[in-house]
């Protein structure tokens, strides 16, 4: 599923920033809040579910080539992070759902 389609098919997820490279594939969900682990273990093309919502999250998503970031538990980007998301063209979505439920939703929808 492309990022473009992914963003469209989740009414549960609010679009915080629509990035560039929307034709890339979303491979599956990945969950982790500790950035050192996320950076080294996240698969390319992941929909990264996290509650970390600062500039470092954007840097790690870019380096690890995540397809998008999904901020769970109602986490929101601060101004610096939103600017960074726009600058880097990273797609960021948000939800009030907890991390596990968000990842499960993504997993089920991708594998439908």
């Amino acid at each position: 599923m492309t990022i473009e389609k992914f963003v469209e098919c989740f009414a549960e997820l609010k679009v915080i920033n629509k990035g560039t490279q929307l034709d890339r594939e979303v491979t599956g969900p990945y969950c982790c809040d500790l950035l050192s682990i996320a950076m080294s273990k996240m698969p390319q093309g992941a929909a990264w579910v996290t509650v970390m919502a600062n500039v470092n999250t954007l840097a790690v998503a870019t380096l690890a080539e995540a397809a998008c970031i999904i901020l769970a538990e109602g986490a929101t980007l601060d101004t610096d992070a939103l600017d960074k998301a726009k600058e880097k063209g990273v797609t960021v979505l948000g939800t009030h759902l907890p991390v596990f439920e968000t990842a499960l939703l993504v997993y089920n929808r991708i594998n439908e």
Partner: protein, 144 residues
């Protein structure tokens, strides 16, 4: 590609908005040069951890990346408090980062261990009260 390519970056202390710029830039250049994705991943992870450490702990410094066909060498030089006990700092889980840093998703004591894990050679020289120099190498296997 026979010549070495040298890239230089400046890192400011506490500037999280730019942390990761050097690793992103190096990653892009290595991709363009056609390096193996696994090599690029090792370089990006090690360098990003190094950059973050400089932002968190030092008063600022420089990064020099030397790209050769058979290895990528990263030299990170900072002015700062230095590392009192390198052996302890290398232990996974040991951290001197303040709570503010932990709330940003770092400070779990994984920076240096990650650098060691994802590089082929890591050399640390540090003088307390002066600064720290890291030399990180990632080897590129030459295909016959």
């Amino acid at each position: 590609m026979n010549d070495k390519i040298i890239l230089k970056y400046k890192v400011d202390c506490d500037d999280f908005t730019r942390a990761g710029e050097a690793s992103s830039s190096v990653k892009r250049k290595l991709k363009l040069m056609g390096f193996d994705p696994e090599i690029i991943r090792k370089v990006a992870i090690s360098l990003y951890e190094g950059e973050i450490n400089m932002v968190i702990h030092s008063y600022g410094g420089t990064i020099e990346v030397i790209i050769s066909p058979d290895e990528i060498e990263m030299i990170l030089v900072d002015k700062g408090p230095g590392i009192e006990n390198i052996e302890l700092a290398m232990q996974a889980g040991y951290s001197t980062a303040p709570d503010k840093i932990r709330s940003l998703g770092f400070g779990a004591g994984m920076g240096l261990p990650n650098m060691k894990k994802y590089s082929d050679d890591l050399n640390i020289e540090s003088i307390v009260g002066v600064g720290t120099t890291l030399r990180i190498r990632v080897y590129v296997p030459i295909e016959e």
